[in-house]
């Protein structure tokens, strides 16, 4: 039985415990206690505790445990000694790591769009460039069947047609839906949208079938089983579809975002679906591994050439554009795209800013660590004298670093969790920043910590352990000279920081300046007093009555119907002069005679459309006039687009797109027929509410079965066009504040170093009669010099970057020179205040306290 005890019990306790037990046993023998053997055993078992076990004793007596314990203890002691610098170091790391991870996670999120498709690498979208300036994402209806039937290496083809603004109902539930897509039945074989109910192979085979997402099932059917239920659809007529499948909601990282999939076979008849005239279908195909791209592309090209009878000259320009599905979101910029687009430049910018912030914060961290290390040079000296090897000192410093890094890592995890809702709200994307939900974060963090440990820990560790004890213990003069060698690196880093913060400060000013300009620039028409009604099939039926009734509403001064409106995509097509075969590309707006009046546009020559005459008439803008009729008066000339007509007027150029682009040629045509998409209403801003309620009443009266019409303000539509710039403005503002914080910490580090280095000099000078302001000046001087260099770098840098950013806009504000000066002054103030705060302490110290050590 003793062996049990010997097996677990640590040596330290063994003898005494065993002795006690034996003595107790002897006693119980004397007292004739019953079951004494059993009790003996019980006692042995009860003696078992972790603290007495061999393992525990081994751990706590292990030299590494002991040194770790002391390292942690010393780390916390040092941190506690100087709380401000500890806080700054900690905050720097938390920020640095946090921002870097945020950028990394976001980039990862964006880069992994459509990666969830099992065969993502083999799926392509077919687009083509017919020789215009941009490739088209959409193609003809007949392309899909052609590829499927004639091209080897292609496994399957799926076509999509998005349909916006569809009215869907089931019994009493009626909604306008924006994301109804038509799709081939092969879609579920090719793309990995997970089906919960229904058969993926057959779900879309029948023309009357519809597949809905889980949340739509909930919206329309509640807890009922949706399978086999009828849904009423109003698109181009009154259709009913039967629910044949329910899929999981489309993942956020899918560029195709739909809530309903209708069978594409319900879209026109067989002939229509094979036609090459209908140019709005998105064609995706899946290839085998390592397909022969040249053959695929050549076959498609040839078919295009035969179908469209392309001239030799245009054949040269024609290109097929195959985009791998996972690149569509981030790397394409095609005409007529359905994709929810990301911008790869945003990702580059974010990643570089994240890296910058990380680098700067590490620099600050290292700087402050070295400076704080100076205070410990005596400790290092003493440790060395007592016999510590350089290696063990490096370990000591590295481990101290690690403790801080781990703490900061935990801090940044917390930070990410805290800002997750804000980030999701801001980006509108379900980016998961929670390390529990997204374990990659933890791995990345581990990598970052290890990397930083090596990068930011090794330098101070080696530097601090280098001193010879005799030097340190003797005088600090020589140590300082050792440090001044690294002064150059440090100064460079500080200059870099100053310049970067300056650039960001100026950057945020330039961005908000430009945004302000975009918002207030007069576009050439009135955008603030226009209400838009999107017309769909049902609304189009009674559009004339609708217009008349709307005109009756008090507060409405005018209304017009047009194919599109400024701010929305306007189609681009070839227009030619009568008798001239050359087509000139122009944006085409089909309008009625009220368009110019409703939008308050200025006619520069000629006149407005003739209201009564029922024939084709054109009004072109000045750019189109210059393009088509460079040498003669355009009024009265004949133009050909679908039909021949007379040019009756020229309108002044106005910005019908966002101000990123300059004004393109525009042709407005009054055209008998109804291909109208929008009803624009000019209203008096003072009676907005009356107008809105009036429209609501009309909607109820004219279309009692439909949900209320959806109304949009044109100016908010224009605001939407600058969404990414608005976001940039916020981001750059946040980064600006952050770099200011980082700069302050940087200055803090260097200023404390300077003050430390010069403390003796200052003390002696003070003894000799120098005044406090003189000393303060002495300390600040160094910074002015650094600042000057930083300004020399920062101002041109900011200028170049601003120019680069602004080049995206056809309309730019001037870069405000005054703001450059103000930003530079602000920067100087920030730096001087911080360093002044640190330096004033030293400059004010009683010389006796400093000199008493000598």
């Amino acid at each position: 039985m003793d062996r049990i005890l010997e097996w677990y019990c640590a040596e330290y306790y063994l003898e005494e415990v065993q002795g006690d037990l034996h003595e107790w046993y002897a006693q119980s023998q004397e007292n004739q206690t019953s079951f004494r053997n059993l009790r003996y055993l019980i006692n042995i078992v009860r003696y078992f505790s972790f603290e007495r076990s061999k393992t525990f004793q081994n751990i706590i007596q292990h030299p590494q445990y002991l040194s770790m314990k002391s390292i942690i203890k010393i780390t916390f002691r040092n941190l506690r000694k100087d709380k401000i610098s500890a806080f700054i170091r900690f905050a720097n790391l938390v920020f640095g790591i946090g921002v870097f991870m945020l950028a990394l996670i976001y980039a990862d999120y964006e880069l992994n769009y459509d990666r969830f498709h099992t065969n993502a690498d083999n799926i392509y979208r077919m687009g083509q460039d017919t020789g215009g300036d941009r490739a088209w994402a959409a193609g003809p209806f007949g392309l899909g069947p052609f590829i499927q039937e004639n091209i080897p290496d292609v496994k399957r083809v799926a076509r999509f047609i998005p349909e916006r603004n569809t009215w869907i109902s089931h019994e009493d539930k009626k909604f306008y839906e924006q994301n109804v897509f038509y799709a081939d039945s092969s879609v579920f074989n090719m793309l990995s949208y997970e089906m919960i109910q229904g058969n993926p192979k057959t779900a879309l085979k029948d023309p009357s079938s519809i597949v809905i997402t889980e949340s739509m099932a909930k919206k329309y059917f509640g807890n009922e089983d949706p399978m086999g239920k009828r849904m009423q659809l109003l698109v181009d007529g009154d259709d009913a579809s039967i629910v044949t499948g329910v899929i999981k909601d489309v993942p956020d990282q899918s560029h195709l975002q739909f809530d309903f999939l209708r069978s594409i076979y319900s879209y026109g008849d067989e002939e229509y679906q094979r036609s090459w005239r209908n140019y709005f279908v998105y064609t995706y195909f899946e290839t085998i591994d390592n397909p022969d791209f040249d053959r695929i592309e050549n076959l498609i090209k040839e078919e295009f050439f035969t179908q469209y009878n392309v001239s030799e000259e245009r054949k040269e320009k024609f290109k097929t554009v195959l985009t791998p599905i996972h690149r569509i979101h981030l790397f394409t910029d095609q005409e007529k795209d359905v994709a929810d687009h990301g911008n790869v430049y945003t990702i580059y910018i974010l990643l570089s800013i994240g890296t910058f912030v990380l680098i700067i914060s590490c620099i600050n961290f290292v700087n402050i660590t070295i400076i704080k290390g100076l205070d410990r040079s005596k400790e290092v000296g003493l440790r060395k004298t007592v016999g510590a090897s350089r290696g063990s000192l490096v370990t000591q410093f590295l481990s101290e670093n690690l403790v801080l890094l781990v703490l900061a890592g935990l801090g940044s995890l917390l930070l990410l969790i805290l800002i997750e809702p804000a980030v999701q709200n801001f980006t509108g994307k379900q980016v998961s920043l929670n390390f529990i939900a997204n374990p990659i974060i933890a791995l990345v963090l581990l990598g970052i910590i290890l990397g930083l440990e090596l990068l930011s820990g090794l330098y101070p560790a080696i530097l601090l352990s280098k001193f010879r004890p005799a030097e340190i213990l003797n005088s600090s003069e020589k140590t300082s000279s050792r440090f001044s060698k690294v002064g150059f690196t440090r100064k460079t880093l500080v200059i870099l920081q100053f310049s970067l913060s300056l650039i960001l400060i100026i950057g945020s000013v330039v961005v908000s300046n430009q945004m302000n300009y975009l918002r207030t620039k007069h576009l050439g028409f009135e955008k603030d007093q226009i209400l838009l009604l999107k017309l769909n099939y049902s609304l189009r039926q009674k559009v004339e009555t609708l217009g008349e009734m709307i005109n009756e509403i008090p507060g409405v001064s005018n209304h017009t119907i047009s194919s599109s409106v400024p701010g929305y995509r306007i189609m681009m097509e070839g227009v030619r002069n009568l008798g001239d075969p050359e087509r000139r590309y122009s944006r085409i707006l089909i309008v009625d005679e009220n368009f110019l009046n409703t939008y308050n546009m200025d006619i520069s020559s000629g006149e407005n459309f003739t209201p009564t005459r029922n024939e084709t008439e054109f009004i072109i803008n000045e750019s189109m006039a210059a393009l088509s009729f460079p040498d003669r008066d355009p009024i009265g000339q004949q133009l050909v687009w679908n039909d021949t007509g007379r040019v009756v007027g020229v309108v002044k150029d106005f910005n019908f797109q966002s101000l990123h682009t300059s004004i393109e040629p525009l042709t407005m045509v009054k055209f008998p027929g109804d291909s109208y998409g929008y009803l624009s209403i000019q209203f008096n801003p003072e009676s907005v509410e009356k107008v809105l309620s009036g429209i609501g009443d009309i909607s109820d009266e004219l279309y009692p079965n439909l949900p209320d019409m959806e109304v949009e303000f044109l100016d908010s539509r224009f605001e939407e066009l600058y969404q990414s710039e608005n976001k940039l403005q916020v981001i750059i503002g946040v980064f600006c504040l952050m770099t200011i914080f980082l700069t302050i910490s940087g200055v803090f580090g260097v200023a404390s170093y300077n003050a430390h280095k010069k403390s003796k000099e200052i003390a002696v000078r003070k003894v000799l009669g120098a005044s406090y302001p003189e000393m303060l000046w002495q300390l600040l001087q160094g910074f002015l010099y650094l600042l000057l260099i930083a300004i020399c770098i920062g101002l041109p840098g900011a200028f170049i970057l601003s120019k680069w950013w602004l080049r995206d806009f056809a309309y730019q504000t001037d870069i405000p020179v005054a703001m450059f000066v103000i930003s530079a002054v602000a920067m100087v103030l920030i730096v001087l205040l911080t360093s002044g705060y640190i330096s004033s302490k030293t400059a004010r110290t009683n010389p006796a306290t400093i000199l008493k050590d000598e």
């Binding site: 306790y13 003898e15 005494e16 415990v17 065993q18 002795g19 006690d20 037990l21 034996h22 003595e23 107790w24 002897a26 006693q27 006692n43 009860r46 003696y47 505790s49 603290e51």
Partner: protein, 111 residues
């Protein structure tokens, strides 16, 4: 400071050690049994002794071996000055609290 507070068993052990002068596990168990009638287990007392030593209330040294112990030495514990102070403090705290207890008068209800 943390850990200055004495638990019941700790106090008991400390006092017993003070009574005995030099004590070890078995002697404490015996003494407690004699004076209070309570049966303590060896391991419990040992744990308490180790803990008290860590707190600095006891100090220990290895004492002589006896036959009953199979030739093994015993670890003898002796009370330290701070141990005595802690003991005293615990006592005073108790007295203070007792002083605040009002004399109880029992009311008998006539029912």
């Amino acid at each position: 400071m943390k850990g200055q507070h004495l638990g019941e068993l700790e106090e008991l052990t400390l006092i017993t050690t003070a009574i005995l002068g030099e004590s070890y596990t078995v002697s404490i168990v015996n003494e407690v049994k004699e004076s209070t009638g309570r049966n303590l287990t060896l391991s419990a007392v040992h744990t308490v002794l180790v803990r008290l030593e860590k707190k600095g209330f006891l100090k220990s040294f290895m004492g002589g071996a006896t036959n009953e112990r199979g030739g093994r030495r015993r670890r003898l514990y002796k009370i330290t000055a701070s141990g005595y102070a802690a003991m005293n403090e615990a006592k005073q705290l108790r007295t203070q609290l007792w002083d605040k207890v009002p004399a109880l008068t029992f009311e008998f209800s006539r029912s």
